[in-house]
Amino acid sequence: MEAYRYEDGSIGHPGHPVGPDGGDPVGTVDLSDRTAEVVTWTVSHATPPGVREPNALAIVEFDVEGTGVRAVGQLTTADVAVGDEVRPVHCEELRDPSVCLREPESQSWDGYRFEPV
């Protein structure tokens, strides 16, 4: 789970060709062995083709040496509350790309779900 560090010191996930202030990326930060805090969450009951139903999702925030880095992703359980500590757990296929609109080869489909610690 790779975040980008930019020239201005900011860190963001996912990485982009340019940072928030237009600066170049200067390095990466691995978030996968860190924990994060749940900022907000939802459980989606009207999911599109290839997505599990229900789909519990959260925006979480990692603290990387005092810099907040947010990410969005699936939760391993809907039993969460704002402020809970979670850790990333790798998942080979978050969604079945064979039945969705987007071209399967155009992007990756693995990633990290968040599990309460």
Binding site: T40, W41, A46, P48, N55, L57, V72, R95, L101
Partner: protein
Amino acid sequence: MTDVAVVGASMTEFGRREAWILELLAEAGTACLENAAVPPDAVDHLYVANMASGEFEGQTGVSNALAQDIGAVPAYTQRVDQTSASGGAGIYAAWQSVASGASELTLLVGGEKMTHRTTGESTDVIASLTHPVEYKHGVTLPSFAGLTARRYLERFDAPRESLARVAVKNHRNGVLNPHAQFQEEIDVETAMESPMVADPLRLYDFCPVTDGAAALLFCPADRAAEYTDDYAVVTGIAGATDTHVVHERPEPTRMSAVADAGRDALGMAGRDPGDVDVAELHDMFTILEFLQMEALGFAPEGEAWRAVQDGRTDRDGELPVNTSGGLKSKGHPLGATGVAQGHEIYRQVTGTAGERTVGADVGLACNVGGFGNCVTATVMEGR
């Protein structure tokens, strides 16, 4: 730069329609020209606001097709796509064409045909605007609404019921709109007890899937009287973007593109938020009405829910919001929505909204794409 007037408007019946996209567009386009008593061959520029006719129906090239179907060949045509904000972007394109002097008469038609798809398929077409890291997790626009609504309710200690009151108000307004998908009042209990869709939001916090089209006709303001006695002038228009990745915004409950577009559009018109008499906001989800009211300066941050709760945005309130019924009750045929918002503001500021007329001089429409990803705000004033 030439001042730009709106001299005609139309919208089709919104809802589940037998017609396909080209028929819907032609129905609205022809009705708009007839509304202004203008022959189709007088049109210089023809813009079509549409998000996804290719994905929904396998029909592309809709602007050229429409030019022939309504008899506007050889008008210059262009399709405008800005996802859910295609209609507002279409107003901007139409305004530019006349303001620049490139066109003396511009027809804008917005439309979408969606209901032949399942809700899941429609949700996927719309979710295809998301970033790959969002899309692979199955993040949809309704799930962004759930994530943001929870944040708002907790951050400002707002009651869940206040969101239901947005739906109740907009359904009440929709009863008076003969083109609305739902012309039926609901009560708070019905909204609060409807099925959960994206916790904490329930079915009645969401707009429906809709077929429909709407149109507006633009010309130089100094020629408007040739077409009609009562017209509107586009006194302000502006657009802005926010990040593609929604969670990268500093605060999920602040819509910066709405704030930027609204400030610039009102600034161009020489108006303050307090000068606005009527507003059409993009209530694809109830929570979005609160966030836009706050970003546009109609309510302080964290206070919009109180304004709705107190009835200040009712049709007889100090700032009526979504007199058309909004997306919630009128329906949300993606590419048509921004144009239909413009239709309502045009009707309001020219005093031709029938029973919905609130006596407004200055109206504002705010059309939102994605979850605030791209926004166009338009100010119209009656003449």
